[in-house]
Symmetry: C2
Subunit: 443 residues, 2 copies
């Protein structure tokens, strides 16, 4: 028979069991928090009509898309979860309850250039709150607290949510009589990546006067305490409605983030935050790990008022945040920042020989009846091999059943961590086996 | 702006939130059982190289496959999880611990003709146990008990696992000097679908003598108690090694299924069970819901000795079972067979007006700190609208905060089920809010 060399395509992440377990722990912490905060899951097809995916027009997306070579309907794999959400909300609005708080965790596809930490198939973990015609500003604050708690549960203490408001910046630009808003946003968006000097030369390319460049830079590149920034913004004599509204929104969101439990240390008002995608209309967020800024933003999003414009004449304003899980996991592992214990260990039952098999089965049945994650070693091999299997899969507790256990209606419980073992009466097993850890524990 | 009509492709399942919640409950019950029985998750790419997917050769699969129109590497969406498992095991065998017990729950793609209950994108929920060179027969019994408990937890009491053994049937055919095994297997496989009369005419088409047809039918179409069938099989004077081995295996698997807790009522030895796919080598299973046989088998699988043949010269025998979740869900819902309560309800906090918002936020923070799934209604609308939202999303408990609650440091807890409400001191909330149901409860 012909042997096909087993391999996967470049740019795809595939994990060995131990790493997969770690990845799943991260994913579960994310999902549990989404649920805890009252978001509900939706699960849309991975394949969408091309006219839906590209309804905003082609551009970069169109080049990166994974097209399906099938039938007459042009179709492709989704490149994010947001387009599908907009389509879903427009399609089923009659059957949804607004504000509609949905989460979705799923794979998306982009044919990006293959490079470190970039994957062509990756998980996005999205939460969005969608209103019908209106959506209160406080939602922009609450949604951050979900992500804040997720990063806390992941043991990532040095998190900073950088927030800004596009209305504020736009109002400011209007006030100094600059109308190239879109181009300027596009340039400022690259600030972190290319640095101040390059920003200045980009500004010059679009023929901005030196005086204006200076004004913009002074306005945006302004790091101090959040309260001080807000005081400064309020003290400016800028007579522009959009500006005033932006400042009010930013201040409100900032204050309510704290009320929802986000520590002030973890918030940084930063007027350089833009978010490239043009559908954001006011609040915008990016999230960085202090000391690991080179990873880039690990959780981004913002407020959009016109998400469903391409699919509906009605207005569904929303606010959303997204974690690119696959890339985040890659970096957290690479930089050794993940210290999670699995939620529940497997208890292994080891029958010493065929004679003790049936008795061992009654024990594993009992454990499972009590919802204890357990496995019985069924192979009829040497004892040494059985113990090395236990070691290799990393069990912390094993139950060993030999003839004396069988005869005396007991079990031997071996603790692989402290290296002890004790004999326990069969009736008392459940009291001794602590299968479930109360919570994920950082080591 | 142009409006694109929001729609999805035909043959794809997409659910509204209430149904999605039900679907997720089913999926979670499946996954929790997989974990409880010691299976570990792997997550392979949805896109595989075409040479991997079609390594067994083309045929029907090749026609149904979803090809990706991208780059030079021919690639396509997986049509099942088994090929990826075989590729994974062959690729990483050095890093896996055998027996390797893996589960995978994921979407697969087949361009099937669009018809009731058939989807082009559907979830498969697979468990497999893979050995290195050898895998004990008892695994064939234990693996069924996982699925048995899943169906029990789903409240599906009338489940029947039909089991057979291909060696046994092959040995029998050899013993009556028939060598068209493959063709006969293919015909018997259709028994449930096309009935006895059509089976006979199909046998005639391959030029089987009437006497042989009669012998085969007497052998396979033999419904009685499991013990009686086994006694009969053992009493037959058939001098064929394969036959004897098959009978021994079938009896052993049957006996151990019971020891692993599968009720005898839920087992039916049925020699007509073949499983079309040619990689099964001995034990085969299909699963039916009594009274709903027309749905077809809801969980199928078997033992295969040669799974990785296309990718490796080493031998990794395995046994596996799979649930086609999307189709199963479709039928269970259609036939009204799903009676699951969600594991955890959302508690809704309703501030009566803006003045009570901050106090309400302290309460939702407290609930979430205690891992209680909760949501605060943030829109500044009429009270009537707030209550109708609570009703529409189906909350069972709501916390209402008006000025008196704010002033007296209390909350009003409204129970939407029994229609009562009571005032509770703020410190005592956690005692009163039972967010988590202990388990999934059948109504």
């Amino acid at each position: 028979m012909n042997i096909t060399n087993p391999s996967i395509l470049p740019g795809f992440m595939e994990l060995l069991p131990k790493d997969q377990e770690l990845f799943d722990s991260v994913k579960e912490i994310i999902e549990e928090n989404f649920k805890k905060y009252g978001y509900i899951n939706i699960d849309t097809p991975l394949i969408e009509k091309e006219e839906i995916l590209l309804s905003k027009g082609g551009g970069e997306t169109s080049k990166q898309i994974y097209r399906i070579d099938k039938e007459k309907n042009p179709q492709a794999l989704r490149f994010d979860l947001t387009v599908s959400l907009a389509r879903y909300v427009s399609m089923y609005s009659q059957n949804l309850n607004f504000p509609f708080r949905r989460y979705q965790i799923g794979k998306v596809y982009r044919g990006e250039r293959n490079q470190k930490g970039r994957y062509r198939e990756f998980y996005q973990c999205d939460i969005d709150i969608i209103g019908n015609e209106n959506l209160d500003l406080i939602n922009d604050a609450e949604i951050v607290s979900v992500m804040y708690n997720i990063f806390n549960d992941l043991g990532l203490k040095n998190i900073v949510f950088k927030i800004s408001n596009r209305k504020l910046l736009q109002g400011f630009l209007e006030s100094i009589e600059i109308n190239k808003t879109e181009e300027i946003f596009r340039i400022i968006d690259k600030f972190e990546k290319i640095g101040k000097e390059n920003i200045i030369s980009e500004f010059k390319k679009i023929e901005l006067e030196d005086k204006k460049i200076k004004e913009i830079l002074e306005f945006i590149d302004n790091f101090s305490k959040n309260e001080d920034i807000l005081d400064l913004l309020k003290s400016k004599k800028i007579n522009n409605e959009l500006y005033s509204l932006g400042v009010y929104e930013l201040e409100t969101v900032y204050n309510y983030m704290k009320k929802f439990g986000v520590s002030d240390d973890s918030i940084q008002i930063d007027l350089k935050i833009i978010r490239g995608l043009d559908y954001y209309t006011s609040t915008v967020y990016e999230t960085f790990l202090k000391g690991h800024e080179s990873i880039g933003s690990i959780c981004s999003g913002g407020r959009y008022d016109n998400l469903t414009n391409n699919f509906s004449k009605k207005k569904y304003p929303g606010v959303g945040l997204s974690i690119g899980l696959t890339r985040l996991f890659y970096y957290l592992k690479e930089q050794n920042l993940l210290n999670l214990l699995p939620k529940e260990d497997i208890v292994l039952i080891i029958p010493m020989d065929k004679k003790t098999l049936d008795y061992s089965i009654t024990i594993v049945n009992e454990l499972r009846k009590n919802n204890i994650r357990s496995q019985i070693y069924l192979e009829d091999t040497k004892v040494k091999k059985k113990f090395s299997y236990a070691n290799n899969i990393g069990v912390k507790q094993a139950i060993i059943i030999g003839e004396s256990e069988l005869n005396e209606n007991t079990i031997t419980l071996k603790d692989f961590i402290i290296g002890e073992q004790k004999i326990i009466n069969k009736d008392k097993i459940i009291d001794y086996i602590g299968g479930k850890n109360e919570n994920y524990i950082s080591r």
